[in-house]
Symmetry: C2
Subunit: 334 residues, 2 copies
């Protein structure tokens, strides 16, 4: 910085103590001393608006009080919400969260992780995991503290929403409304979210004495454009479904678009359920029924997992989602 920074030395001098005393008093971890010297040091630090030099502190401590978060992209609102929740949770604990984006390429994922490690983060939080991802394994091998969020490779410590339960809630909601011909648009099979939300949906169908019609179950990406394409496929069928469960909100918006293109009105001719409940969907022309993912809980649990030394506890934690019913779902026609 342009302004010559005030260092511990300045503070110590002003307080009339040694550097090491000043360092100890200002150490936020140790016990809070109330000795005369401590009071003077704090006053001096305040007066001079002293701010610890993180580079020097990290170098010496070997830890930075920083988590590195890796997401595919921040312009995906789900990922932005997840990061914001992690940032809040970190701040609460006096830590800092640092983010890097890596797109969907496994290679870039590994490289971005190295970038984070270069910044001496104390742990890595990955929102990118594929079920067959090599990166978590590599982190385990190298003994690098890490936790997976939202998605899991089913091995490394993970904090996520209970996607099976969420899938169940979504499908059950449609069944309760009397729907029997229900389409499913699922996310990529390489994500645990894709797999688990589908399992949950199938469980709900089984409970109702139904099975998933393979012709009505599509697997695709997580973008709006995928939702449009999949929606068209389902809705152009001779015997079209009366409801569709889309495994994320973008897909569901795409289905709304597809419906309009075919002259169908969402929440009238076709019921639609999304997943994640991003803020946008409550405000759409036809507000979307969606399964809300508890981002704050997931973030807090993730930090617990990655900071606790005890490995013996259940390493894969799932937070229960909630279904938020809105105008996009209505009773099935008789």
């Amino acid at each position: 910085m342009s302004v010559p920074a005030v260092t511990l030395k300045d503070v110590a001098q002003a307080a009339g103590v040694s550097i090491s005393t000043a360092s100890r008093v200002l150490d936020e971890r140790g016990s809070f001393s109330t000795s005369a010297a401590a009071v003077r040091v704090r006053a001096a630090a305040d007066e001079l608006s002293y701010r610890r030099n993180t580079a020097a502190s990290s170098l010496r401590r070997g830890a930075t009080g920083t988590f590195g978060v890796l997401v595919p992209r921040l312009s995906d609102t789900v990922m932005a919400l997840m990061f914001e929740a992690i940032e809040r949770a970190a701040r609460t604990r006096g830590h800092f969260a640092l983010v890097a984006t890596c797109g969907n390429e496994p290679d870039d994922e590994a490289q971005a992780t190295e970038t984070l490690l270069d910044r001496n983060v104390d742990a890595v939080i990955l929102a990118t995991a594929r079920v067959d991802d090599r990166l978590p394994e590599s982190l385990r091998r190298r003994g690098i503290p890490h936790v997976l969020v939202l998605r899991t490779d089913r091995v490394s410590p993970s904090s996520l929403g209970d996607d099976e339960a969420g899938g169940y809630l979504a499908m059950r909601h449609l069944l309760d409304l009397g729907h029997r011909d229900i389409g499913l648009i699922n996310g990529p099979t390489f994500t645990s979210t894709g797999q688990d939300r589908r399992s949950g949906a199938e469980r709900a169908l089984r409970e109702a004495g139904l099975t998933l019609d393979p012709e009505l179950a599509l697997t695709t990406g997580y973008g709006i454009e995928h939702g449009v394409a999949a929606g068209r496929l389902l809705l152009e069928r001779a015997h079209r479904p009366t409801a569709i469960f889309a495994a994320n909100d973008h897909l569901a918006i795409g289905v709304q678009t597809a419906a309009r293109l075919l002259g169908l009105v969402p929440g009238q001719d076709i019921s639609i359920v999304g997943y994640n409940d991003i803020p946008l969907v409550a405000q759409l022309p036809v507000p979307l029924t969606s399964v809300r993912t508890p981002f704050d809980t997931i973030a807090a649990t993730a930090l617990d997992l990655v900071t606790s030394k005890s490995v013996e506890r259940e390493p894969i934690r799932r937070a229960l989602p909630t279904l938020i019913p809105r105008a996009s779902t209505v009773r099935a026609p008789l």
Copy 2:
């Protein structure tokens, strides 16, 4: 990190040179040496997968190669896109971008900035500026390198879209389609974007021999819910406008929602133009005509401004936006 890190010393030893030679060879800034020793050092570094310790390097260099970016929220797609663009531009130059969020409170803005400065960022990039913001002034006074993006206080170095031109494009587009009764939903007056987009729109009207009907010009926030409310106000009028220019995409989506609520079909009964062209709007049931903000250009220019030593050049740079016409705008009824 758990694995004992390999240091310069290890590399130097393996290459049979001194630490300082190794340091020099691996210095990415200086000229690229091809001497035998240099080759050996690079081989050794590669072999041992050496990674520079940023804390130590920053401490010594006094610079971190890091920009601190401050945004209100990342779950606002516009801000996420802006940050992603800055991140890309920084990476291109071998730098790193670090983000902090601060909501809309000026107090939190100042505090978040301090958090970034604590991390020894080389410069601060603010996407938060209000026209009467005190923070840029405080940064100028303290001699802290900074640049404002997207919004400007009209004093500090800034890189933004040409909002006046964008407002002109949007309004001109509607006029060219034959609309004469045009509503304007504008962003907060404390943002330069709000002010400038409105001026541009007014210029287009003047050129067409019209003036802005004050009753059709609303000023509000930038959220979807604001768009819904403002849209209702405009569309419930006895003599309702045939077109609306909303100063950002969220407002425009809100207007679409308001239209539907009143039984009007966007792109048919009412034409709507948004601003920023976030990816979502191209995929809506009625794809939205929008003014595209050139985020990558803005990011590159911002980094130029903040890294160049020359203060003499124009410190407020504006990148031209483009209008992307889509189905939400149609010819005015006769």
